[in-house]
Amino acid sequence: MEANNPASLAPALRASGLSLRLGTQLVLEDLALEVPRGSFCAVLGPNGGGKSSLLKLILGLHQQDSGSLEVFGEPAPARHVRIGYVPQAKTLDRSFPAQALELVVSGLSRSWPWRISPSQRQAAMQALQQAGALELSERQISVLSGGELQRVYLARALARQPELILLDEPAAGIDAAGEHDMYHVLESWQHASGATVLMVTHDWGAAFHHASLALVLSRRLLASGPPQQVLSDETLRLAFGHHGHSHSMSWHAPHSHPPHNPAPRPPEAPHA
C-alpha cells in the first residue's frame, strides 16, 4: 500500500548512527546509509562485517544499541511493511516433514497449515509459478535440490507480495544454472512489481551484474553506489585488507574492471 502512495517519499531503507554490539563485539558502528525504493541493492563485505546483522536488524531479530533504522519511514521492525525474507538455505531444517506448497502457505499465514484453504492454495500456487517452481508444489522439501529449495523459499517470500525482499546469501550452495534461474526470477519479479530488493552476498560478480546499488560494509559503510563504480580494487582492498582477515591474504583483486561490457565476471571474494 505504502509503496504506491506518492505522498510517502521515505526511502526503502534509511540508517543513521546505527550501532550494534553482539556480546563484546561491535558489529556495526555509526552506520549511515540510504537505499532508494525500487533498488536492487547488494550488500557486500567481509565475514563479520555486519551484512547479515543488518538484515537481522531490519527483520527485528536484533535490536540496535544506538542510532535509527527506518524501513519505508517506519522504525524497524516495521510491522506495517510487507517484507519477504529468503534465509540462507543451509540454515533450514530439511528433515521437517513438509511439502513445498505448505512451506509457501506458512509464509502467508505466519503459522504452519493443518489444512490449506482454496484461497491460500491459489495464492501459494501463483507465487510458486512466479518463482518457476510450480511443478515442485507437491514435493517433499527433503528431496529438493538446493536450487529448487531456494526457488520455493523465494515463492514463500513473493506470496506476501512484499514491498521489500531480503535475501541472505541466496546463491550459496546452489549450482550455476540454479543461480541463473533465481536471479532471472528475482529481476523479472522486481521489474513487474517495482519493489525493493536487498541481497546480502559474497558474490561480487552477481552484484556487478544484477544490482543497481552496492553497499560495502565492514562494520562501517566503506562504499555505496552503482556497482560498476563502487566495486573497485580500492574498495576491495579496504574491505578485505584493513581488518587483517585471513582470507584476504589468498585473495587477488581483479587487475581492473573494464569500464565497458562485456565485463569479465569479477572473481568471487572468498568465503571464510
Partner: protein, 276 residues
Amino acid sequence: MPELLDALSLPFFQRALLAGSMLGAALSYFGVFIVQRGMAFMGDGLAHAAFGGVALGLLLGWEPLYIALPFTLLAALGISWLRERSRLGNDTTIGIIFALAVALGIVFLSQKSGYSVDAMTYLFGSILAVSRTDIWASAAVLLLALLSLPLWGRLAYASFDRESAQADGLPLRLHDGLLLALLALSIVVAVKIIGVILLSAFLVIPAASARLLAGRFSAMSLSAVLLGAACCIAGLLLSYLLDLPSGAAIILTQVAVFALCLILQGRNTSTLARPG
C-alpha cells in the same frame, strides 16, 4: 483370547489402560515438537529432575506429585537461566541440572529409611498400580494437550523456521515457555506410571516412528498421537500375556513399531521418484 478378556475385566488393568493411553497420546503429541526441535535430551533431563522432586515428597511424607511439579518447573527454569547466563549449550546445561536433581533425589532418599521400594517404583514406573488420582492427573494432562492445539500451527512454524517466526513477531519466548511447562507437567504425572528411566522413550519413539512415514507435519502429529496411545494398549496386553514388566513391554512395542516404520519407509523411498 479368554486371557485377554480376563485382563480387560480387571479394574487395575482398566485403570492402567486408561491412564497409559491418555499419557501415551499426550506425551507423543508434545514429542513431535521435541523430536523436530532436537530437544530429546530435555525430556530426559526433566524426567530425572522430576525424580528429585518425587524423592523430596517421599522424604517429607507429602504426595510426591505435588512436590515434583514445582521442582520440575524450577529445573526447567534453571536450565533456561543457566543457558542464558553461561552461554553454554542446551545439552550441557541440561546435563548439569539433570545431575544436580538426581543427586539431590539420592540425598533425600538416603535420609529416609525403607525408601527402596518407593524409589524403584519411580525409577521404573508401575503402570499396574495406577490410582484414581493418577487417572484424573492423566486426564488433566490430555486436556491441557487438547487446549494447546490452537498453538499447533505457531509451534510448528517456529520449529521449522525460528528466524522467520521471530521476524513475523510471534511471541516465541511465551510459546517456548508454555511448551516447556506443559512438558514438565506431563512428565511429572507420567513419572510414577512410566518411570524416570524409560520416560523419554514416550516422547521420542512414537514421534520418530510417525516422522519416518509422514510426509506432512500434520500427518506426523496425528499419527504420533495414535501410535503413542496404541503402543501403550498393545504393550500392556503383551505384558499381561507374557508376564513382563509393563513399562518395558510398552517400550519394546514402541521399538517394534519403529522398526516396522523404518522398513516401510525404506520401501517408500525406493519407489519415490527422486528429482534429477
